[in-house]
Amino acid sequence: MNRTLTKPIADDLVRPLFQTSVWFYAIVFAAATVVACGGAAWGYQVWNGIGSAGIRWPVFWGFYLVNFVFWIGISHAGTLISAILRLVNAGWRRPVTRCAEAITVFALMIGAMFPIIHLGRPWLAFWLFPYPSAREIWPNFRSPLAWDFFAINTYLTGSVLFLFLPMIPDFALVRDRSTGWRRTLYGLLAFGWRGTTRQWNRLESAMQIMAVAILPVAVSVHTIVSFDFSMAAVPMWHSTIFGPYFVAGAIFSGIAALIIAMAVLRKTLGLEKYLLPLHFDNLGKLLLLMCILWAYFVFAERLTVWYGNEPSEMAVFWASQRGRFAPFYWTMVICNFVIPFVILTNYKTRTILGCVIASFGVLIGMWLERFLIIVPSLATKQLPYSWGSYAPQPVELTIMAATFAGMILLYALFSKFVPIIAIWELKAGLPSRLDPALQVETSLLSTRLDTEAFSSEAERADRGQP
């Protein structure tokens, strides 16, 4: 009775680890090639000087910082969302959490590279680290970049652990089902996990505490990223709204990335039974909520600036509203608001495909939003004599492409070596496992898993009961 229910789940979710299609190698090869190009581009830049990038006086921050903010934003997909869903005990979270948390970890790794890539002397990046050195000088803890160091490292540590801890029981499961090098590898990763009652109880307590702890950290990370800008007296940067505005934007783009990743996994790994239209519908609603919240923040920011009519701010305001940055601005509005709002408000278009289209819009729009925050302000600072412009150079574009390829590469490898859906969490969410009080809440997903998905003729016969 028990095993007929849970064994197919484990079989389905472990299968991608053992079966590899030629497409996997093709994707890994293609992505790795682009990543290698990015590495070469960075080497070229280090060798020749940071001047290989398009940054200039007075736009000293360009695509690298745009990508930094963008990727750190994407990293709010996982840990934040999965921690919230864990805390409110939303049953439909179970197949979603791990793919979300993996996005967080990889996006953070990629995002955290940019502050080093963009340095003038990257070989001295370790001077940002607080350690007692022979130089006898510590980092300046008043600098937002020092705050970034602490925030990103705390979030990365927390996210890696948050991702890894619930993977231990699944590693143990793969260990028991495999032979050869896999058995050794997963045996090491499983830490000798057996699954005693004590271990399960401790793991669940730890995850609960981690979820509580990681939430404020996630909020603080993007707030501090926004402080990189709002601490400086630069027109339209020096704003108190930036913290929550950035956090909202980060969650917005994070959900979009999650929806796209889930849609791809669903197709490529054959997870149609687990990543249901219900999940996309729910995440689509969340995306819609963030879309409206984002529009609210943009309106509040723009209205305050326009009404205040302060000359240096108005210069930036009009540069993006109807000046040389206007094409980007209006593309952003269409991608970030018009497209997702129209698609996601209508339940008929809030399908998997609809959600994916809306998500691509959001990713493009949110990337442009970061560009429009950074570049127009720097190009249009207080003294009109020193206004300038900025155009990215090939190195910047190559490195940017390499980070997207890097994300695909890391994600492909991850889903190859780790069950992308938490097997034990999915099992524990089956209705026969749940408290009657919780069954109503989670019935939608679970009934489908119990009855529809596994009720092929043969399985029903197997189960020996209707």
Binding site: G120, S143, A146, A233, K381
Partner: protein, 235 residues
Amino acid sequence: MAYRWGMAVDIDKCTGCEACVTACHAENNIPTVGAGQASRGRAMHWIRVERYYEGSFPDVRLKFRPVLCQQCDNAPCEAVCPTYAAHQNEDGLNAQVYNRCIGTRYCANACTYNVRFFNFFNPEWPKPLHLQLNPDVSIREVGVMEKCTFCVQRIKAAKTEATAAQRELVDGALQPACAQACPTTAIIFGDLNDPESRVARLARSPRGTKLLEDLGAEPKITYLQKQPWHEPDAY
């Protein structure tokens, strides 16, 4: 008694000849980047002469404003530096320690005057131009931010000399290169802590204004002009 170096720039006297710019380049080993890089925004001028046009053709009036590091008391560039490359030194100078700089360029973004310059590439002085380098000033490598120092090498030398001779520094005896080169004496340099120095008196002048004073950075350069300056229409 600590010094507090300041400057007064008389806009009414400035002819826009840019002798200060040339002198600064020569004194401080500022690399010239060439036409190609200059057109890409990589030119470095620790002091620049901003030109603004007033009126419309043919009744055009040209105004000049030399802009250099304002050596702010509450410098927005300092706190944002994660390595203390930018900090306030004991003379109230906005010091830039090249060896500590790792090139985040945050200071240059935070600076509201855009007077910080970045070495996008390693500087080059094709022979025989290397012979003109000032031995008192270090060369900055790629990835390092630099800016006006009020000719700190001259200040150090003068202070050492005065200490050795056991006397006070005389007002006017010490000049940065720009002030020295100015044919109309539009640039006056001195100690603001000495209330009788020329610069301290000019700082109290009713003609005096500070650049972007309302931002609260408390710059130590006073601009003197009879007519109020109107920033050109920004948009």
